[in-house]
Each structure stands twice: as C-alpha cells, then as structure tokens.
C-alpha cells in the first residue's frame, strides 16, 4: 500500500496552522506542524517531507531563509503562505526557491489544489497531465509549469496551449486554431497570432527555449527543437 504523502507545515499563527492541518488531514495527507523557522528546518531534515507549506513571517528564522536552506539540499516543493502580496514580495519569495505563493486570505480549495498539483509534479504517474519537454500542463487544475515554474495563463491561453500540447509536432493553420479555440467568431482577425505572442511571452519569460514555432506560410507547431 502506497505511503501517504507527508506535508510539513511551518506557520507561527496557530489558528491558521490548525485549520490548514485539519484540511490536509481530511485530504488524507500526513502532516507535521511546527511554529518557527528553526524547528521547521530541523523537522524538514529529520522527516524529509514530500511538500512544505511555509509562512514567510516566522520567529527565529524567517520563511525566506528557511526556503533558501531547504533548496540547497532538496527539490521538495515549497508553497509559501503570506500576508505580503506585492510583486516584489512574490519575486523575492519565488527567487528564494519557493515553487508557489499564496496570499492570505487564501481559499483553502486553492491551497489544496496547489498541493495536489505540486505533488503530482514530483510524482509523475498521474493522469490528467500533458508533458512536452519541460512543459507540464495539469488539465484538471488548469495549471501550467515550465521547469517547475508555475505560469499563470488566461482561459483562452490555456485552451490554445492545450491544443498544441495534446498534438506536439502537428502543424496547425490559423483557420484550424480559430475554429477550435474561438468557434464563436468568424475569421478575419489576428487573434491567433496575438495569442501565440502572449503564450511565447509567458512561456519564455525567464529566457527558456522556444516551444511554439512559426511554420512560415502555414501556421504554428509545438515541438522541442
């Protein structure tokens, strides 16, 4: 029988730690709760959990530092919970090695969905997922990762990427794409080109290699070069 995933919760606000703990247990995860950074880090080394839910403002050792130290030795997914929501805070959090970032007040369903998504990512034998090169599309959670980096896509962007990702190597012309993704509009707009532009910008935001290529005079194709 498969072992239950172990989740380490590091959160100094006991009332928040409590309900996150209860919810994760209700989803049949093993949980360990600690209330400060140093204990959290030593528990991590002792127990080697499958995922860490980490608050940023922690006593003794702050969350960013905990994330950095974990990242030195391990690829375990880290989801940061924080009351800070500025872009700078997010960038700092993600740069410190965290995989995801949830701002309080967060919805518990969203936290659970992200936990599922990150656990699937480290444990690939799960359905509902499309993988091409370093691109991972979680079709149920409608989430996209590239090389572990979570990418926010709009609904249409997701639909378009899904069309490509389900048919890697197949060249689509603009008309086909429009018919599938924008069935309610008749042709004549450049919506496909614009959205391919959006996708490229987001998928290559950190200088990654190009995935969606232009086939001159025909259309677009998703493939690894």
């Amino acid at each position: 029988m498969e072992r239950k995933p172990l989740i380490l919760i590091v959160e100094d606000e006991k009332e928040i730690a409590k309900f996150v703990d209860l919810e994760l247990q209700a989803e049949s995860y093993e949980t360990v709760v600690t209330y400060d950074g140093v204990t959290g880090l030593s528990k991590f080394r002792e127990l080697n959990p499958d995922l860490v839910v980490l608050d940023l403002m922690l006593p003794v050792l702050d969350g960013l530092e905990v994330a950095r130290r974990i990242r030195k030795t391990s690829n375990t997914p880290i989801i940061i919970l924080t009351a800070k929501d500025s872009v700078d805070d997010k960038v700092t959090g993600l740069d410190s090695g965290a995989d995801d970032y949830l701002v309080k007040p967060f919805s518990i369903e969203e936290l659970l969905a992200r936990v599922r998504a990150h656990l699937r990512r480290v444990n690939p034998a799960v359905t509902g997922e499309v993988r091409v090169a370093d691109l991972v599309m979680n079709l149920d959670g409608r989430e996209v990762f590239r090389d572990g980096r979570r990418i926010e896509l709009s609904a249409k962007e997701f639909e378009l990427l899904e069309l490509f990702a389900r048919n890697p190597g197949k060249v689509f012309n603009r008309f086909e794409i429009e018919e599938k993704v924008w069935p309610e509009y008749t042709g004549g707009s450049n919506v496909v080109d614009v959205y391919v532009g959006y996708l490229r910008r987001k998928l290559e935001g950190e200088g990654e290699r190009r995935l969606i290529h232009t086939v001159r005079g025909v259309g677009y194709v998703l493939r690894e070069e």
Binding site: E13, E15, I16, K18, F19, V20, L22, E23, A26, A83, K84, D85, V87, K104, P105, F106, I108, S154, A155, K156, E178, W182, E184, Y185, S189, N190, V191, D193, V194, Y195, G197, Y198, R201
Partner: protein, 476 residues
C-alpha cells in the same frame, strides 16, 4: 499674469508718472522764467520810453521790438469821448527800431476800449498776433515823451511790442527734448526692471520648479537651497522643512494602513478557514450551517474590505500597476464565468463583435474593475447584466449595463468617492465595502483611461470604461 510682468509693469508705470511730472515741471518752470525775462525786457523798454527822451529810449529798445507812440493832444483828465480823443490825437509813427514787416499798427490790433483805458491811466499788458503770425507781448502805459528837437514834453500813450516767438521756439525745442529724454529713460528703465525682475525672480522660479517636481509619488525630492543668505534661502529651507514633515506623516499613514491590513489578514484567514473547515468536513446541523455560513460570508466580506483598503493604501502611496499586452474580452468572459453561476436567476452576458480587443494592462486589476462593476449591478437587483465591449477609434470602450434599480441623479457625482453609499436601493443589500468604485476609478486612471456612469431610477445603470487600445503595430 506673472509676478515678473506685474513687477515690471507696476514699477515702469510708477517711473513713467515720475518722469512725466519732472518733465512737465521743467517745462513749466522754463516757460515761466522765459516769459518773465521777456516781460522784464518789455517793461524796461516801456519805462525807458515813457520816462526818458525818445532817442535814448529808442536806443535802449531791443532790436526785434516794435513800438508805437500815440500823442494825446488833450489833457489826460478830459478824455470822456474816445472818438474825440482819437480825432484829437496826433498819431506819430516814428521809424521803427526795425523795419516793421507788416503794416500793423499795434494799436489797431488791440480792442477799441484799450486806448480809452490807457488814457485814463490803466496799464496795458496783452498778447497780439501780427498778420505774419508773429506773436507779440504788448505793454502799454500813459507817459510823457520829449522830442529832442521840440523841447516840449507831450503826453502820449506808449506801446511796446516784443516778439515772443523766440521763447515759443525755445519752449517747443525744450518740449521735444524733454519728451525724447523721458521716452528713452522710460524704455531704459523698463528694460532694466524687466531684467532685474528676472534676476531676482529666477531663484524663486528654480525653487518653484523643484517644488513642483515633488509629487505625491515622490516626496523624497528636496528644493535646492541657494548659497546666498537671503529671503529665498529662507523660503527654500522652510519648504524643505515642510516636505520633511509631509513625507514623515505620509510614510506613517501609509505604513499604518499597510500594517493594519497585513495584521488583519491573518485573523480573517483563520476565521474563514475554520468556518469553511466546519462546513466542509464536519456534519453541522441546519442551524449550525446557517450560522457558520454567516461567519464565513462576513469573514470574506472583511477580507475584501482589507484587500480594498490595502489597494487604496497602495494608490495613495503612488503605486504603479504593471502593464502587459492583454485581451480585455477575456477578462469579461472570466468575470461572466466566475459570477454567472452564483448570480442565477440573474443573467450575465458578454457582447462583443470580435474575439480580440487588446489593451496594455494589469489583467488581475482590470478583472477587479469588471468584477466590481458587475457585482455592483447584481447588488442593485439587476436581472440582466450586459457587458458590451467595442473598439472606439483609438480606445476600447466597455459598457456594463444593468436593469437594476438605478441611481438617483444627486448621488451620481459622489459615486466614486470612498465609503460613499447611495441611500436606497443600491445599499439595501450592503455587500460592498463602499470602496469598490473608488478602486475602479483608481485602476482605470492608472491605465490612462476614464470611467463614467449614467443612470435612471427604475430603468438601470450604465458604467462606461474607456481605455486606450493597444496599438496594433509592433507585434512579431
């Protein structure tokens, strides 16, 4: 009108008055002294003629003088009849000191009763104009003349005329010179004042420019303090002091709002989280579900309020949204898909003729705009909320139309104010924080657009958001 211009105009006008007064005084004084000189000369000549012998008298007349001696035959105390006197008078017109260019007799140029008055003993002082336009100062008196060859002294009326044209010419010349001097002096002065005003005011202008660069977004700038130890330095220093205090209080307020919001988030998260846990994972009774639902909903409302407050704290701190190319239509569709299921039986529809309307924007914040507008419409009791999106020239125009209760016209101007609530239909459900539309306006303005509202009570409301469309060029 600038201070510089006012200063220049004011001082120039002042100086113009002073200069004119000086010039006029100079002119009047000169005129009087010249007149006096002529008068004295004439009087001297008249005295000479009336007291001395004719010959000596004539010799002492100036070269340009006219004279006329009218011998009075009868005794001076009898002159009752002017005609008689005139008839009895022996007019003598000796050779003039200089050739009289006209044939005028001085007496003929004077009124008739002058001779009568003279004979009675009055003195005459008058101006006459000759036929050649030469003006004379004429003095006359009754005297005794002695002719050298006749050894008799005869009573006579003696008239002396001295041309005043020299004086006139001198005065005209003086007026011209004075006028020119005044104009030149005035021009020089006005230019000087203009230049001086610039010199004096340029530090003020520098201080002003520096002060206007200090904005709500950047209170850290300071006004340059001039090295001179003067009023301007004091001004700059006191402006900087004021900015220090302003920055400090801004910082305090901003930190307070931000800290308060952060601090509120944690308990709100715990409240909502626990309520949700009990609702989802345990089996509460119907009453408990109701009660937990209230806790959850109110907690979520508080979370939204905290979010809104923090958003406005950011707005006050001069926060700039991050913009990227995006399709506004998708934001509308996302809002429809998010709120649609919760709004039943009310309908939310999106109406757009094309699949793509690009703007440069912050997707999350523009979604907040649309969410707030649609939620407002639903709160107002709308049964159908229609989002209409179209390209309008260089703009993208979004209209959110509802068939709700409408907003009274007196409330419309205040709608975008913080914590403003419309009395009546819109606030009966009271879900909002009262900050939603203030945030809408801030976000829209951050995107270089504007938001407007039209409404009619009983018919519905239309919110119009206009955003600059993304230029179609520059895309690979």
């Amino acid at each position: 009108m600038t201070l510089r211009l006012r200063l220049a105009i004011f001082t120039s006008a002042f100086i113009a008055v002073i200069l004119s007064a000086v010039a006029v005084s100079v002119y009047l004084l000169t005129e009087r002294s010249l007149d006096t000189a002529v008068e004295e000369r004439a009087l001297q000549a008249l005295t000479d003629l009336s007291e001395g012998a004719i010959a000596t008298g004539l010799q002492r007349l100036p070269g340009d003088a006219y004279y006329q001696i009218v011998l009075v035959a009868t005794a001076p105390e009898v002159p009752s009849d002017v005609a008689g006197i005139r008839n009895g008078v022996n007019y003598t017109q000796p050779a003039s000191v200089r050739a009289n260019p006209t044939d005028d007799r001085l007496l003929a140029l004077l009124p008739d009763r002058v001779l009568e008055d003279l004979i009675r003993g009055d003195d005459l002082a008058a101006h006459v104009t000759l036929a050649n336009q030469e003006r004379l100062r004429v003095l006359g008196t009754l005297g005794t003349v002695a002719f050298p060859n006749q050894q008799v002294a005869l009573t006579a009326v003696i008239l002396v005329g001295l041309p005043t044209s020299n004086v006139q010419r001198t005065l005209e010349q003086l007026a011209r010179d004075l006028g020119l001097t005044v104009v030149l002096a005035f021009a020089a002065f006005a230019f000087g004042v203009w230049w001086l005003a610039r010199q004096v005011l340029s530090p003020v202008q520098r201080v002003t420019q520096a002060a206007s660069r200090v904005s709500g977004q950047d209170l850290s700038r300071r006004v340059p303090v001039p090295a001179t130890d003067d009023e301007l330095r004091a001004l700059a220093v006191s402006i900087n002091h004021m900015l220090d205090r302003l920055q400090e209080s801004f910082e305090t307020q901003r930190r307070f709002t931000a800290d308060a919001s952060h601090e509120l988030r944690t308990p709100v998260t715990a409240i909502v989280g626990h309520a949700q846990y009990l609702l989802r994972r345990t089996h509460p009774s119907v009453e408990q579900v109701d009660s937990l639902g209230v806790i959850q909903r109110e907690g979520e409302r508080m979370a939204k309020l905290v979010h809104d407050l923090l958003e406005l704290a950011r707005a006050d701190a001069g926060f700039q949204v991050q913009r990227e190319p995006m399709n506004l239509l998708e934001v509308l569709e996302a809002v429809r898909d998010d709120l649609g299921p919760l709004a039943v039986p009310a309908r939310i529809t999106v109406d757009c003729a094309q699949p793509l309307l690009e703007v440069e924007g912050d997707p999350a914040r523009l979604k907040q705009v649309v969410l707030n507008l649609v939620q407002n419409a639903l709160d107002a009791g709308a049964q159908h909320v229609q989002m209409h999106l179209e390209r309008d020239g260089r703009d993208v125009r979004l209209e959110v139309l509802d068939d709700g209760a409408g907003i009274p016209s007196e409330a419309l101007p205040h709608l975008f104010e913080r914590f403003y609530r419309v009395d009546g239909a819109r606030s009966t459900r009271g879900n909002g924080s009262g900050l939603g539309l203030a945030i809408v306006r801030w976000i829209v303005q951050q995107h270089g657009g504007n938001v407007d509202v039209r409404s009619r009570v009983g018919e519905g409301t239309v919110f119009t958001v206009v955003l600059p469309a993304r230029a179609p060029s520059g895309r690979g």
